[in-house]
Symmetry: C2
Subunit: 258 residues, 2 copies
């Protein structure tokens, strides 16, 4: 029989932990928060009206320990937790089968970018669930369904692939914006002018095929403008402009006569 997850201990008090704790605390009970960072742990415990755990040695009895920690800390944390506890973790890339074997261990991965102090409608966030047994998978699905409408079962491989695509979509696009903003501000121009373009770029990607919507000098294979732009740049931005322009041109012109 599936057990209903009611009492949850959180490990971690960062961006994901904060959003999950706030959402989960509406239907379940967060009975403790542990984080290496004591200040963050106290802040989060205050937000969800619970206790700070001073170490992993005295975890109270609970239905789930949810680990919202950095990828490279997960293995070590699990090794400190007695084996009778049920565990889940929120990583996009850590393979369930590379972790210590447990009766109840699983994945509770939200595909979204979280910031502590930013509101986000968690109901729309896709969650990818994987459990050590079918029963435990179902327990985690029920828990996820209490906070989101968008739940899927995914293997570690598929989750890792979604995470990799998410890095292109989020991390890299955000970094391009960082570089563009830095450039604009170094040239004493106004970043605000680019905002309507940022909005429309995204609306197009959401509404249609980005491949068909591609525009710009590389899409037209306009080498004169590309070379002029490359001359205007320096450092890593120059390398990025060169490589991405080449990638765009190759996408549309590789099999055509030059």
């Amino acid at each position: 029989m599936e057990k209903k997850i009611e009492n949850i201990v959180l490990i971690g008090a960062g961006n994901i932990a904060t959003h999950l704790a706030l959402a989960l605390s509406k239907k379940s009970k967060i009975i403790g928060v542990y984080s290496k960072n004591g200040v963050s742990a106290r802040e989060l415990a205050f937000k969800v009206n619970t206790e700070v755990l001073s170490s992993l040695d005295n975890i109270p009895s609970c239905d789930l320990i949810l680990i919202c920690a950095k990828d490279d800390a997960i293995d070590e944390i699990i090794n400190q937790i007695p084996t009778h506890f049920s565990i889940a973790y929120t990583s996009g890339s850590v393979d369930l089968h590379h972790l210590p074997v447990r009766e109840k261990i699983g994945v509770f991965y939200p595909l979204q970018t979280f910031s502590k102090d930013r509101f986000l409608d968690i109901q729309q966030v896709p969650f990818f669930i994987e459990g050590s047994t079918e029963n435990y998978t179902n327990e985690l699905i029920k828990l996820a369904s209490s906070i989101s409408e968008n739940i899927s079962i995914a293997t570690s491989d598929d989750r890792k692939k979604m995470h990799l695509a998410a890095i292109f979509i989020n991390n890299f696009s955000n970094h391009l914006a960082t570089l563009a903003k830095e450039y604009i501000e170094n040239e004493h121009l106004n970043w605000e002018y680019l905002k309507p373009l940022i909005k429309e770029t995204t609306n197009k990607i959401l509404d249609s095929s980005p491949k068909e919507m591609q525009t710009g000098p590389a899409r037209r294979n306009d080498k004169q403008i590309i070379e002029e732009h490359i001359r205007m740049l320096s450092g890593t931005s120059k390398e990025i402009y060169t490589l991405l322009s080449k990638s765009i041109s190759d996408t549309y012109f590789k099999n055509q006569d030059k």
Copy 2:
């Protein structure tokens, strides 16, 4: 005295020409459209209820010829137009001072991505104006003000820099989405799952500092995950992942001890 621009001839019938013609035709009159592509010219002429011009040899008398052509065609088009005509062009990167000298020649550059069949609120689009004389600049500003609330005077240099930043924001982000979508579909996964992330990524860029909002394995300098992702990719995507991850790590860790 500034002259009011009332009768406009359009050269070009692509994405920008279509949106500008539709917007301008509300307060001004489009009296003819010329394009090398006869089908596009007829389509656009039909949309704004005007005539197709069969060549540049018989341009009717007008207050402005607006050239919405590819960058590398602008010079040649201008050389075919008798010198008594007033001219403006919509390019982000073509320098006004590199074009044939005319009494009335100027720039009418909308900083936005246009697609013919997609509605766009042109009132919000930033226009960058530059004219051969102060009077002519003012004429073009008045014309732009009839369709947008966001008008600035900009030198060719500043316009070129805005355009270069726009390429990072639009062309390159769109290409990253193209690569991510291709990857997801090749792996038989569902692109729809990434849409909430695409929206939130953009909202964060619009609301706050992308530099401060950066997340992901490169931001954490998590080399193990980065190396695993690089192993999962091939071809140009692998090169792009490698270069952008390096650029992110350098942005945040370059001056720190490793």
